[in-house]
Amino acid sequence: MLKGIGVISWEFLTEMPKDGMTSGGIFPAIVGTLLLVLGSMLVAFPIGIMSGICMSEYVKDGFIKRFVTVMTNNLAGIPSIVFGLFGMEFFVNELKWGDSIIAGSFTLGLLAIPIVIRITEESLKSVSKTFREASMALGATKLQTTYKVVLPIAMPNIVTGLILSLSRVSGETAPILFTVAAYFLPKLPNSIFDQVMALPYHLYVISTSGTNIEASRHMAYGTALVLIIIVLMFNLLANWLRKYLSRKVKMN
């Protein structure tokens, strides 16, 4: 991976790919990855977090809760390629969205939802029961308890988990293979129904089936490095936020 460092330059990061991807940069791929991450965030976070809250605070223990938990765990265990399959068949073909950012975002979002739900649930569960009882005893309603007491305490863990799920989403290749990724598209997308290039897919293509594999090898090293850096940045950000937020909560 050290070989990638020599390739990275300002031009590499900001230019369009040229000459059948043997020179130029990977700017569209970076933009595409970020757009996909943003899109899947919009899909997965609201529904995932709310379901998590609902599951841990409102639904009573019993058959329904067990059933839903089993189903979400199942969903989390499905290989990512199967999500790609579903995304292609349903979002791309059935709903006629075509290969587009929105189809890819929904597919990646579905992939992230089980992770988000589990993280939210676990973090809420780890909040001590005494906090809830104290809040109830002071006359707060259930909603007030959840929003003003339980959520702030669980926040550091939730945020960390969310960012980690984003780092997973940004590295996934299989689901975007058939829902969004473009092979060679040296321009930026105009609408959410456009195809984009994405870093993981770009790396896959130029390392296995590019027009000139030997000549684009250095591009592949560079792409791999950029991808790793993005993922690591997410992870470090998560670590830092966890420390920062938990300190803040404790001070309150």
Binding site: Y58, V68, M71, P79, V82, T173, P200, L203, S207, V231
Partner: protein, 374 residues
């Protein structure tokens, strides 16, 4: 007034929460049912493509063949109708493009307007013929009758040794080679990753000093976050040439390379989870063992490991789960040949890699693979 407003808000938010919970559950159910429905559709399909049909002379007693028999016939491995339960006659193969060997261009017509008639004539003349033609050239109430082809059955799917979903005239759906490939690669990965993973976990939890542990553990967790496609690339440029050199192979893209890459990918999961399990052994148990005169090694082997064996098992299962479902890395390094592997030095193809590689070409067939993925 204010309390009513508050009540409405809280009811509304609660409703919203319940609704999102319901939506998620429904979405999960929908995905599962959708995929199952689509995959069950496979069993209603015939292996011969819709727009083509297989024709025989109407006096031929053979009316029904399985996909595999058709393939053998067209590969000229079965050459006599007797082998298929018919009369003793040679099997003559015929495809649409062969018509020019028998009829001149004028007879067929400039825009192939007489093609159907000619094919019909040809089939009438030759008793032992089997013809594979486009359905539009098939005539009704003619001397040729379409051969009915057996539908795909679950048993055939599981037993079939050949995987050619785009083969003509009859597609072959045997998932056995894919299944064997997946199992072989995953097994190899676990065999490679397990000893290293557990050894590293024991070292980190019991032997290494705290400072090293505090540095090493976050690093290993970061390793778990690296995208699979990067591992695949690493395998392609480092491990594949290495395997090729070690064993003097014509190609390095083998099951072994896939196993090594998957093993590396499964390592972080195995290490972190089993290290957590080992670390959670109560201090009093270790101290009791030491107080009884056991040395450190005996304590680890007889007390710590048995105590945390359930956690270690979880780690192994999680590792296997990641290895079996992994697509991209495997797709890039295993060579993708859908044959039953005889050794780990042959190219194989796994189920997820097949979905990825063939999704574009073969629309419905791959759904069945999902069952296996479960």
């Amino acid at each position: 007034m204010k309390t009513i407003f508050k009540k409405v808000i809280s009811k509304f938010v609660e409703g919203l929460l319940m609704m999102s919970g319901t939506v998620t559950t429904l979405a999960v159910l929908f995905i599962v049912f959708y995929l199952f429905k689509e995959s069950l559709g496979l069993f209603n399909m015939t292996p011969v493509e819709d727009s083509y049909s297989v024709l025989v002379n109407k006096n031929n007693p053979v009316k029904k063949l399985s996909a595999q028999q058709i393939k053998l016939v067209f590969d000229q491995e079965i050459t006599n109708w007797k082998q298929l339960g018919g009369n003793d006659a040679e099997i003559e193969l015929f495809r649409t493009e062969d018509i020019s060997n028998y009829y001149s261009e004028d007879e067929i017509g400039k825009n192939f307007e007489h093609l159907a008639q000619r094919i019909n004539e040809h089939i009438e003349k030759h008793r032992g013929i089997i013809a594979f033609v486009a359905s539009e050239y098939e005539m009704k109430n003619a001397a040729s009758v379409p051969l009915s082809v057996d539908k795909i059955t679950l048993l055939e799917l599981m037993k079939g040794k050949e995987w050619f979903p785009t083969a003509q005239p009859a597609a072959q759906f045997g998932v056995l080679p894919l299944l064997m490939g997946t199992l072989l690669v995953s097994l190899g990965a676990i065999l490679l990753a397990l000893p290293f993973g557990i050894a590293a976990a024991i070292y980190l939890a019991e032997i290494a000093d705290t400072r090293f542990r505090n540095i090493a553990k976050p690093l290993i967790e970061l390793l778990a976050g690296i995208p699979s496609v990067v591992f695949g690339f690493f395998g392609l440029v480092v491990i594949v040439p290495m395997v090729q050199q070690w064993f003097n192979l014509p190609v390095g893209e083998t099951a072994l390379a896939g196993s090594i890459v998957l093993g590396i990918m499964a390592l972080p999961t195995i290490i972190t989870v089993s290290e957590d399990a080992l670390h959670n052994t109560p201090r009093s148990m270790k101290e009791a063992s030491l107080a009884l005169g056991a040395n450190k090694w005996q304590t680890i082997l007889r007390v710590v490991i048995p105590y945390s064996i359930s956690g270690i098992t979880t780690a192994v299962i999680l590792g296997i789960g990641r290895a079996i479902g992994e697509t991209m890395a495997v797709l890039m390094v295993t060579g993708n040949a859908a044959v039953i592997p005889h050794s780990i030095l042959q190219p194989v193809r796994t189920i997820p890699a097949t979905i990825a590689a063939e999704l574009g070409e073969a629309p419905l067939e791959d759904y069945i693979l999902k069952h296996c993925s479960f």
